[in-house]
């Protein structure tokens, strides 16, 4: 696996094998070995008072009552979203990404934000052939609330050439914003042995 540098990223973009759109910050968005990702307008927040627990064994209930446990909010340009200490919300990048079958990605935080305690992703791997806006699992690990604004550059994606070709078999095809977790599918993938207790 090798990391794609700026020049190679541009070459891939030119050939249309790789798509990153829109480039909100023009060519400055492509760094020496990464691409900047900006925070989008939408967030998914958990309604803590309504969630008893996230229980995969009871995931049908979670999926059916998705709006009972979670809420999608949209923050307009210039408005802030306050992320409180130890709060988890889902956000997404403004950038829509389409990866070719020999490039995968890894989402990384930016050190400036890291120093404030902001974690931007826990599931950091982006599969080959993924198409969509990258979901960011935002957690404030610091002690003070953080004001987040749409358009802030909070993350970056490092692109890596894979050995061999891959395809995308994820559960979240073509997301254009953060998506509610599909926990019912998690149960389906539980090995048979563990299901039949």
């Amino acid at each position: 696996m090798s990391i794609l540098t700026r020049n190679v990223i541009w070459q891939e973009l030119k050939k249309n094998r790789l798509v990153i759109t829109p480039l909100v910050n023009g060519k400055d968005e492509i760094g020496s070995s990464s691409v900047d990702l900006h925070l989008g307008h939408e967030f998914i927040i958990f309604k803590r008072a309504k969630v008893t627990s996230v229980d995969v064994m009871n995931s049908t209930d979670l999926t059916r009552n998705v709006y009972k446990y979670q809420e999608k909010v949209r923050i307009s340009r210039g408005q802030k979203f306050v992320l409180h200490p130890h709060q988890l919300v889902l956000g997404a990048s403004i950038e829509y990404i389409s990866l070719p079958n020999d490039v995968s990605g890894e989402i990384c935080g930016r050190s400036t934000w890291g120093r404030t305690g902001l974690i931007i992703a826990t599931a950091t791997k982006v599969d080959t052939c993924f198409k969509g806006c990258v979901t960011l699992e935002l957690v404030n690990e610091g002690e003070v609330p953080l004001s987040l604004y749409p358009g802030l550059c909070v993350a970056q994606i490092v692109l890596k050439r894979t050995e061999g070709l891959g395809s995308y078999k994820g559960r979240y095809p073509y997301p254009t914003g953060p998506e509610f977790p599909k926990l019912d599918q998690e149960l389906e993938s539980l090995p048979k042995f563990f299901k039949s207790v």
Binding site: N7, W10, V19, T21, P22, T176
Partner: protein, 451 residues
């Protein structure tokens, strides 16, 4: 009515105003995709406070006045203040509730605002969804004082994210511009219509009271039919001039369950028959040169789109709609007058389209459509056209052209037609995914235009 009854009434109205202000307070903290909503809420609060003070003033006067009290006058004043609330102000609450970010296609709002600002700059649009399968617009008319500065565009709630059908907003946006066209010629047309109605009903004597009344009634019906039809046609042609084939397909999709030949009458508010409306659009507002340019692209998807549009246009090459409506005496008179004005109406529509409004016939849009379609086929939002000219060691020369709204919608419709014909055999985007990609494209392109 006694003094105590009047006081009780005034208290009830005051309480209703307090409840209204309380509702506004709750609405104020919600999210809206446009600042116009917050602006409207503050104006409503001002109005509500003002009216509540008026009621308090009435009560204070009542307590001071020495008997005998002119009860009917005070009662009328209290009722007047109440009517303003019940008949006018409370309507706004429903509109604002339906205009919340979560309830409207918020990604589409900036595109509609940008379009509306150029067409009806005096009425900033507020989009809201309601539980009716209907698109509509309300503006200035019947809105009090400083509340007449908005237009309220309603969308069918179950189609909130159905951006392809929202092409029809182009039709709604032109409604506030129609009156100035029909009012210019109203007198002249009324004169001709009076003569025609008289000719059609020779048994009715205009000198006889009954005959005079009947002829007057029929003149009014014909005028209503004439005006309503022209207004709808002006809006149809405007939408078609903006969005071309997308307008045609959106309209076909919207009226899928409707009767194409329904006679206009008072029950349907003289809504013109769809057959006739399609005929007018196809025969007058679909630019043949632009279509030829679009069909020049030889991709399978564009050629399939071409055959769909050509087949649809062929259906409306006839005058079947006009002939149908003429089977009714009064509508026949109205539509004969409408037909005389089609060309003038079309010119009026064009005159209301400044260069700053992107149209589907613009070269830029026509060039963009096939490229945006390619993006959709790859599962990418059709939001921009990127050209990378050269790549140096550590630099790159590239340009990004934001997609134009008509091009996004036409590319979306072309993909949808392809989808309909091939979804059984190919792995294509679902309608929901297609809608989301198009919504994302609209939002992104507006953002890119601002930069």
């Amino acid at each position: 009515m006694s003094l105590s009854s009047l006081l009780r009434l005034s208290h009830q109205v005051e309480n209703e105003y307090l409840a209204f202000l309380n509702e506004l307070q709750k609405l104020e903290v919600l999210e809206y995709p446009t600042l116009a909503c917050n602006d409207l809420i503050s104006k409503l609060r001002e109005q509500g406070l003002h009216n509540k003070d008026s009621i308090i003033k009435v009560r204070e006067e009542l307590l001071l006045v020495s008997p005998p009290i002119k009860e009917h006058l005070y009662r009328a004043r209290i009722i007047f203040e109440r009517q303003k609330l019940i008949e006018i102000l409370t309507n706004f609450l429903d509109w604002i509730v339906g205009a919340q970010t979560q309830k409207v296609p918020w990604s589409f709002t900036p595109s509609i605002e940008s379009l509306a600002n150029k067409i009806i700059p005096d009425y900033p649009p507020i989009l809201y969804c309601k539980n009716l399968y209907n698109y509509g617009i309300q503006w200035a008319q019947a809105l009090p004082g400083n509340l007449d500065k908005y237009s309220f565009i309603s969308l069918p709630r179950l189609h909130r994210s159905n951006i392809l059908m929202h092409t029809l907003i182009g039709h709604e946006l032109f409604h506030p511009c129609c009156e100035s066209f029909t009012s210019k010629m109203e007198n002249e047309v009324a004169r001709r219509i009076t003569l025609e109605v008289k000719k059609a009903f020779p048994d009715l004597d205009p000198d006889d009271l009954f005959g005079q009344k009947e002829l007057g009634r029929m003149n009014a019906i014909v005028m209503c039919s004439w005006k309503r039809t022209l207004h709808e046609l002006l809006c149809d042609m405007f939408c078609a001039e903006l969005f071309g084939p997308a307008a045609l397909l959106a309209m076909r999709s919207y009226v899928s369950f409707s009767d194409y030949k329904r006679m206009p009458d008072m029950n349907n508010n003289f809504y013109p028959p769809l057959q006739y409306r399609f005929e007018v659009i196809c025969q007058n507002a679909m630019d043949k040169n632009a279509l030829d340019t679009l069909w020049g692209e030889k991709s399978e998807i564009i050629q399939l789109f071409k055959s769909e549009i050509e087949e649809l246009s062929k259906t409306f090459e006839t005058n079947e709609g006009f002939e149908f409506v003429c089977t009714d005496n009064l509508n026949g008179i109205a539509y004969a007058e409408v037909n005389k004005l089609i060309s003038e109406a079309h010119d009026y529509v064009i005159s209301k389209l400044p260069d700053s409004i992107p149209r589907w016939i613009d070269e830029k849009a026509l060039v963009q459509i096939p490229k945006l379609l390619e993006r959709l086929q790859d599962g990418i939002p059709p939001n921009e056209i990127i050209k990378i000219k050269s790549i140096e060691e550590d630099d790159c020369d590239f340009t990004s052209e934001p997609a134009e709204l008509p091009a996004i919608l036409i590319a979306g419709w072309a993909y949808q037609i392809y989808r309909e014909k091939n979804m059984e055999t190919q792995d294509l985007l679902s309608y929901d995914t297609l809608s989301r990609l198009l919504l994302k494209a609209c939002e992104d392109s507006e953002m890119l235009k601002c930069e």
